[in-house]
């Protein structure tokens, strides 16, 4: 290649810093971040006691399991798959801790066992999807029923309670002392979120994740092993769901088979509200985290305003529908603009 044709290329030498920052962190999730700010401001102004440390503290604890599970779920959905068994895994993890604790196993060992259950449960999903090529929707609807069934089967409708205060207090501890907003467990989420953001947005693995979701065939032609990556993402959702189960059990001091029933829909909804495309290939973790917080803030504010729970559910549902529609409208407009620009550049 001896030709130097720098001058004939019409592309600019480098993108502007602003453009790059936007692409890096926000992408199409700028809208959802704006929405979070709006919801927060309206709630602070119009709802008494919303903007207090205590409200924020409970808001974080309430959304904490969703925040956790949404991280690996984002990876799974970006590759074009889905994992609906996460809430059942929360239940199964909870039951594992409860049953072992009842049998006299110390809590740390029971927690470790629950995490192993999560790894195995995720691996089973991953194996069925990637090695056998089954659709993840079908596989995880199956394991949703299976894991929940095992969980309820082990403990029945009874609950195991009476975990040592050391552990139940630990998950409720406030980082900066009495009356402050941040629970100490949030550190666990922050660490996991940083790891997830780095992997998804700053590594080759992250690039592959998007590529698989956008075009599986072209990814294979670029030497990307989609099966292996997806397998590990399913293991991650299983493991993190089990971790959420640990939190759930200790926070409510209650190990039950029906813990976190229906949570999988909240997680998927939050990920979609956060701007991730259900068809795969699009979305960012910053958007997803904002999506979880929007739902959490909205519900918390309405509850404080003494709105009935039915209305809260309707409002959450509306938010979901709107936020799934709006990004696709934005994308459509962006594409149109991009096409026009490309056409203008070509002519």
């Amino acid at each position: 290649m001896t030709r130097t044709l720098e001058a004939t290329t019409t592309a600019p030498a480098a993108p502007s810093v602003g453009t790059r920052l936007r692409t890096l962190l926000f992408g199409r999730s700028a809208a959802i971040i704006a929405l979070l700010v709006i919801v927060w401001i309206i709630a602070s102004v119009s709802v008494d006691n919303f903007n207090t440390p205590n409200t924020l503290y409970f808001l974080i604890l309430d959304v904490f399991p969703v925040l956790l599970i949404a991280l690996p779920m984002t990876f799974v959905i970006i590759t074009g798959e889905i994992d609906l068994s996460v809430a059942s895994m929360v239940g199964l993890s909870s039951v594992t801790i409860g049953a072992l604790f009842q049998a006299g196993v110390p809590v740390p060992a029971a927690v470790a066992a629950a995490l192993v259950v999560g790894i195995v449960g995720g691996a089973v999903n991953g194996f069925l999807v990637t090695a056998l090529g089954l659709p993840s929707l079908a596989v995880t609807i199956g394991s949703l029923a299976l894991y929940r069934g095992i969980a309820v089967g082990i403990l029945g409708t009874t609950a195991v309670t009476g975990f040592p205060d050391v552990f139940t207090d630990l998950v409720k501890e406030r980082l900066f002392g009495r009356g402050t907003a941040i629970p100490t467990v949030l550190i666990v989420f922050i660490v996991l979120a940083i790891i997830a953001i780095v992997i998804l947005h700053f590594t080759g693995t992250g690039r592959s994740t998007y590529a698989i979701g956008l075009n599986k065939e072209a990814s294979a032609f670029s030497g990307i092993n989609a099966g292996r990556l997806k397998f590990w993402f399913f293991v991650a959702t299983g493991t993190v769901s089990a971790l959420a189960g640990v939190f759930w059990t200790l926070r409510y001091d209650s190990a039950r088979g029906d813990n976190a029933m229906g949570l999988e829909l909240v997680v998927v909804a939050a990920v979609l509200v956060g701007g991730v495309s259900i068809f795969g290939g699009r979305g960012s973790l910053v958007g997803v985290i904002a999506g979880v917080l929007v739902i959490g803030a909205l519900r918390s504010a309405l509850r404080l305003a003494d709105v009935s729970s039915d209305v809260i559910n309707v409002a959450t549902g509306l938010l979901l529908v709107v936020s799934v529609i709006v990004p696709s409208i934005i994308t459509a407009i962006q594409r149109l603009v991009q096409r026009r620009r490309a056409a203008a550049a070509a002519s």
């Binding site: 290329t9 480098a14 993108p15 780095v198 072209a218 290939g281 991009q338």
Partner: protein, 504 residues
């Protein structure tokens, strides 16, 4: 050059069809006489299929005229064409597999009894009568599922007769048939001809054409070339008309380079039903052309070498080292790059930015301490874009927004970024404009000069002949001939690619 005196049942004159800026059919002409079997021949991409689709009502022509039995027609749908008496029998008919044979024949117009229930008895009897007329025995009440392709075609023909089609188009009907089945099909075709119907027969096999047809029309580059009485012409003359182009001046090939060490060596590669016994080598500084008809198995061989598909037997070596099968990642690590056939589905991720597409394969080596930034991607992509003169408004816009030629340059840049030892290009200039085409050819020549080994699959004969140091010909999954640059002529390659050794 004689065209029969009887007024044609179907006549096309200067039919033109474009898709966007691509001219699929420039000026297609054809005059089909009743009671005649008319062969339509041409290279891949000569416009035969488009012509058939215009006749069948799949595409609407842009200009030109189509007359059926003397009156001008313009079909808006396949149903219109069917109603007018045109039936197309495709290579692999699409039937309703769960319905019976008779139900398929009478699809959409089942005979009914009073009360609206389907009269199976009448339907089966009429179907039996049709089959009897065709001299075949297929049980009308059996399921269509499991019928051989030959029987499926006969079912389609029976359907056409029951609709009293005046024109039958058979698009490569024999490609998937055995010898006996071909004979039976020909017997039926002759019987239909004798009933006064007009048949258009498309085939790449000259022995069949000369056995069955009475007239032959040659197409090339989307245009009508000539029509002959079959008795007035030889296969060699038809081949000359099919390929007759001046090709030598178009290609910027550097002559007289000495190839170096063997880079790729393929030994006895086989995959049941696709290809078998494939053995060849590609050396440094050498462009090896892989010629053949569409569907001969060339792309499948490339996919197997690269590891997209598995293979049953044989070995692939790069620089003498055996390559694990079914693993594109190892193939890339060993120094293979593949510019695939389908740019938009396989070559690129059209919804991803140009920059990310260009750096997707080298994503790991681009990262520092495992981390990568859009900056490093962009800079690397910018280098590649500059080298290949990619015209993009922004390297951050989606690859799908670019023109075909620029997309192909991005795919090439994506693979050149890996510094491959062997570059496999599958239809490297399909669907791109003439200017970019020349640029791609110049680039391939330069790469070869710099020492790269290049395996080029192409259905465009001029490209194969113009660019290759050696030409390998694949026919029906087997290597049937190898020519040096000097030996390779259009006629020789076409002959090896079609089934005409005895006739030519």
């Amino acid at each position: 050059m004689t065209i029969p005196d009887t007024p044609p049942v179907l006549e096309l004159r200067d039919v033109r069809k474009t898709f966007g800026s691509v001219v699929a059919l420039d000026s297609g002409s054809l005059a089909l006489s009743p009671g005649s079997i008319h062969a339509l021949v041409g290279e891949n991409g000569a416009g035969k299929s488009t012509l058939v689709k215009v006749i069948a009502g799949v595409h609407r022509r842009d200009s030109g005229s189509v007359t059926l039995a003397g009156s001008e027609v313009d079909f808006g749908s396949t149903a219109d064409a069917k109603d007018a008496g045109i039936a197309v029998i495709y290579q692999e008919p699409t039937l309703f597999p769960d319905l019976t044979v008779a139900e398929n024949v009478f699809m959409g117009r089942h005979p009914v009894r009073a009360g609206g229930a389907i009269d199976r008895h009448v339907m089966n009897e009429q179907t039996s009568a049709l089959f009897e007329r065709l001299g075949v025995s297929i049980d009308p009440s059996r399921q269509a599922l499991g019928l051989s392709i030959a029987d499926q075609q006969i079912l389609e023909i029976a359907k056409a007769i029951s609709l009293d089609a005046r024109v039958l188009v058979m698009d490569e009907p024999t490609a998937a048939l055995s010898g006996i089945e071909v004979k039976r099909l020909f017997t039926i075709a002759r019987a239909l001809r004798d009933e006064g119907r007009g048949i258009i027969f498309i085939s790449h096999r000259f022995d069949e054409i000369f056995d069955l047809c009475d007239t032959v029309t040659v197409m090339r580059d989307g245009a009508y070339i000539s029509t002959h009485n079959i008795d007035d012409v030889t296969p060699a003359e038809i081949v000359t008309r099919m390929v007759g182009r001046d090709v030598d001046t178009l290609f910027p090939k550097t002559e007289g380079t000495q190839p170096g060490d063997v880079v790729l060596s393929v030994e006895n590669l086989g995959s049941p039903g696709t290809f078998s016994g494939i053995t060849f080598t590609v050396r440094e500084r050498e462009i090896v052309g892989l010629a053949g008809l569409v569907g001969a198995g060339r792309s499948e061989i490339a996919r197997a070498i690269f590891g997209i598909d598995d293979y049953a037997s044989g070995v692939v070596r790069i620089d003498g080292n055996m390559l694990a099968k079914g693993n594109p990642r190892k193939a890339i690590a060993a120094g293979i790059g593949l510019v695939p056939e389908d740019r938009r589905q396989q070559g690129l991720i059209v919804d991803m930015s140009v920059a990310r597409n260009m750096t997707l394969v080298i994503r790991r080596s681009l990262a520092k301490w495992g981390l990568m930034s859009s900056r490093s991607e962009y800079d690397r992509a910018h280098d590649g874009a500059a080298k290949l003169r990619v015209k993009a408004g922004s390297l951050e816009s989606d690859a799908g927004t670019m023109s075909g030629g620029n997309q192909q340059k991005v795919v090439l840049a994506k693979w050149l970024a890996t510094n491959p030892r062997l570059l496999i290009v599958d239809e490297p200039t399909r669907g791109i404009d003439v200017g970019t085409k020349a640029e791609v050819h110049r680039l391939l020549d330069e790469l070869a000069q710099e020492g790269m080994a290049i395996l080029m699959i192409s259905s465009e004969l001029p490209e194969v002949l113009g660019m290759s140091d050696r030409v390998l010909v694949v026919r029906e999954g087997r290597l049937t001939a190898e020519f040096s640059r000097d030996e390779a002529t259009s006629e020789a390659v076409m002959t090896a690619a079609t089934r005409t050794e005895e006739a030519a």
